[in-house]
């Protein structure tokens, strides 16, 4: 227990110790560590839609408050809760860090991706060029080269942009998704595979590095999930899905088969109520944006 939680206060200055674990993989069990309810000044979190992280930091979209919160991870201890606000951001739906530490935020009101520097200062609004029309993203990811992968819900496709916003690739959604589906999230694996999840059809689709179309990575996960809203992969190819309506985390093996379903609906710590985003890092630390519980929860992966 001593290495699990050192929380001075959930509402005051934040300093949370997280045990260092190997990277999460299929067969891991999520163990609750701590719930974060407030920023570093004690102001409560409201409806967080997304969370992203690396081995050194956590970036929470505190959507209901129209801001981001950054936390530092140093030697397994989480500190901070610094607020980042911008007049260009009303309701951050997703936020990711680029390779140089810059922050990219998808705003739910303008439906634009806002580029901030590492300190949270406004740099620009991403203007996709070469796409041939309007792009309305509802999620995005960034690869290690700084390329942006947008789920363009307006045109039912994924658009890949270089760091300057120039179009590199367009990959249409599968026809089933176009007809009666909704891509709720996207992630790019370290080897360049693009994975998207259809919340309505409860399916994951994959496009390889040079693929021109998405093909099913899973069969329908109906029966295991109600509405997958978030997707992440780890370096071993394990896929994590967050089931918003079903309040659980579903883990898929590298072949798309289900390996685990974990956590359940509830208001108590360790439980979820309409969770919306998930991330994990190489330390085996997992963070969940527990949207309707107005908090972020931290877990560790146990083999």
């Amino acid at each position: 227990m001593k290495n699990l939680i050192i929380a001075a206060s959930l509402f005051a200055a934040l300093s949370l110790a997280l045990p260092v674990r190997p990277v999460a993989a299929a067969g891991v069990k999520l163990k609750f560590v701590v719930a974060v309810y407030a920023d570093g000044k004690g102001n409560p979190i409201n409806r967080p839609e997304a969370v992203s992280c690396d081995d050194h930091s956590v970036l929470l979209s505190d959507s209901g408050n129209g801001r981001l919160l950054t936390f530092a991870l140093v030697n397994g201890t989480m500190t901070g809760g610094k607020e980042i606000k911008s007049s260009q951001i009303s309701y951050p739906l997703r936020a990711r860090k680029g390779p140089n530490g810059d922050i990219f935020v998808l705003d739910g009101k303008s439906h634009k991706i806002v580029h901030l520097d590492a300190n949270g200062n406004y740099v620009s609004t991403v203007q996709p060029t070469g796409v041939g029309g309007e792009v309305i993203p509802d999620s995005f990811d960034i690869d290690s080269a700084g390329n942006l992968y947008l789920v363009d819900v307006f045109n039912s496709q994924v658009v890949v942009l270089d760091p300057q916003g120039r179009m590199i690739r367009q990959i249409p959604f599968a026809q089933d998704t176009k007809d009666n589906g909704f891509i709720s999230d996207i992630t790019v694996s370290k080897n360049g595979d693009i994975l998207i999840v259809d919340g309505v059809r409860k399916m994951v689709y994959k496009a390889g590095k040079d693929a021109k179309e998405f093909t099913p990575f899973t069969k329908s996960l109906a029966g295991y999930m109600s509405f997958p809203a978030g997707i992440q992969t780890d370096s071993k190819g394990t896929v994590y899905l967050i089931d918003r309506n079903g309040a659980s985390i579903v883990t898929l093996g590298a072949d798309g088969s289900i390996s685990a379903t974990q956590l359940k609906m509830g208001w108590k710590e360790g439980q979820l109520y309409y969770p919306s985003g998930i991330c994990f890092n190489n330390n085996g630390e997992i963070f969940i944006a527990d949207r309707e519980n107005n908090r972020m929860q931290a877990f560790v992966a146990e083999q």
Binding site: K109, D138, F154, N245, E292
Partner: protein, 420 residues
């Protein structure tokens, strides 16, 4: 040669004796007295004499073959049937649902033949229980009401449902239609007729889906359009959205769907996009058509289907939860999704049309009259310091597997969440 012929004859005689005996056995396996078929049954079932006088008598009944369906002594099935009630008809009518049917009548699949037919006799053709359309309207009451009340009648419907529908199964189309639309419609309506063309503003709609605009069962609108008509259609302004009859592509749109809709509904679209939570279909290029029919609809707001069906296409898990729920929430059960949700956008969670769930529930429930549990912004949820107590702290609006729409099997398990 003679010897071989004798052997063949002997073989045939043996064969005839063997199978003749088998046939006699099948024919009278109950060893009824000569001439007793059926008559013995009628000695007790005397009321059956009236049945036999009816105009259309089921052949086995007519020939006294009661044992064709009934076992005279004992049976494992109701009415002493020789097979389960939902399977007995298929023993003689196995092809009533042909392989590869594109649509099937649910009652036929379920073997509920007696919903429409009297298995013994009737004064209606095919031993139907009622005359003409009445047999269909016994179940399809909404259509019966529509057919009766509509100002503009469709003559084939008044005549017989069977003019367009196959009662058991259709090999060619959905909805038990005898053929695909528009082929079925064109058996009566000549699309090259100048009057037809004029009525359609010379647009080449001959291959279009007629039921996109027209209600085949009749309506109150001129031209039998659905009762809710998009104003450009009502004012015959096809070219407001389509290229027009003089174009090489007359039915093609003048611009993308989103731009077309924005042309008239600009204020609504701006209001929608000004909110933080936008319902995702709204953001698609042809998103309006995800839920709306651009021409006409039986539903208000030109919706493509009743709300519970329309919303349920994507939110199937939520609809199923309500169906499973021991306690039904009337707005959900009735499919009135917009009683609580904004279909386009909202600044509130779950696209709710009120910021506070307490205010929303309070529209129908005067909670303080039936409950004394404190709710409101003054009361923190003991389970979560960032939540205050609302109706949703204890109930799930779309129901649960338990009574009172609570998320736990018993009230005690709910209460001890906080009252430890």
């Amino acid at each position: 040669m003679k010897h071989k012929y004798r052997i063949l004859m002997l073989f045939l005689v043996v064969l005839a004796v063997t199978f003749g005996a088998k046939a006699r056995s099948d024919e009278n396996k109950f060893r009824l007295k000569p001439g007793a078929r059926g008559k013995i049954c009628l000695e007790c079932h005397s009321d059956f004499q009236d049945k036999l006088k009816m105009q259309y008598v089921h052949t086995p009944v007519k020939i006294g073959e009661c044992v064709g369906c009934h076992s005279p002594h004992t049976s494992n099935y109701g009415k002493n049937l020789a097979a389960p009630e939902n399977k007995i008809c298929f023993t003689c009518h196995p092809d009533i649902i042909p392989d590869g049917a594109k649509s099937t009548h649910k009652v036929v699949v379920e073997g509920k033949c007696v919903n429409c037919h009297d298995p013994h006799a009737s004064n209606q053709p095919f031993h139907l229980l009622r005359a003409g359309n009445e047999v269909c309207f016994a179940c399809h009451k909404d259509i019966a009401q529509q057919v009766a009340s509509s100002k503009v009648k469709h003559p084939p419907v008044q005549d017989s449902c069977l003019n367009c529908h196959d009662p058991h199964a259709s090999m060619k189309s959905t909805h038990l239609l005898k053929d695909e639309v528009p082929g079925l419609c064109k058996t009566c309506h000549q699309t090259s007729n100048p009057i037809f063309l004029s009525q359609h503003m010379n647009m080449p709609v001959g291959e279009a889906n007629c039921v996109m605009c027209h209600n085949p069962h009749g309506s109150d609108q001129k031209g039998m359009l659905y009762n809710n008509v998009h104003p450009p259609v009502a004012s015959r302004m096809c070219t407001q959205c389509h290229q027009g009859p003089d174009s090489k592509t007359p039915l093609a749109l003048r611009s993308p769907v989103f731009d077309l809709c924005k042309g008239c509904h600009n204020d609504m679209i701006n209001t929608t996009l000004a909110k933080t939570q936008v319902h995702w279909p709204f953001l698609r290029k042809d998103g309006c058509l995800s839920c709306h029919n651009p021409h006409a609809s039986p539903e208000k707001g030109l919706l493509k289907a009743p709300k519970i069906k329309l919303c349920g296409r994507c939110h199937a898990d939520t609809i199923k939860r309500q169906q499973r729920s021991q306690t039904k929430h009337p707005p959900v059960a009735e499919g009135n999704c917009t009683a609580c949700h904004e279909p386009h956008s909202s600044n509130n969670s779950f696209l709710l049309n009120a910021a506070s769930p307490i205010d929303l529930c309070g529209k129908c429930h005067d909670s303080q009259k039936h409950a004394t549990h404190p709710v409101g912004v003054k009361y923190k949820d003991p389970r979560n310091p960032n939540k205050t107590l609302t109706c949703l702290s204890c109930h799930r609006a779309h129901g649960t597997d338990y009574k009172r729409m609570i998320p736990f099997p018993t009230v005690t398990e709910l209460c001890v969440q906080c009252h430890t």
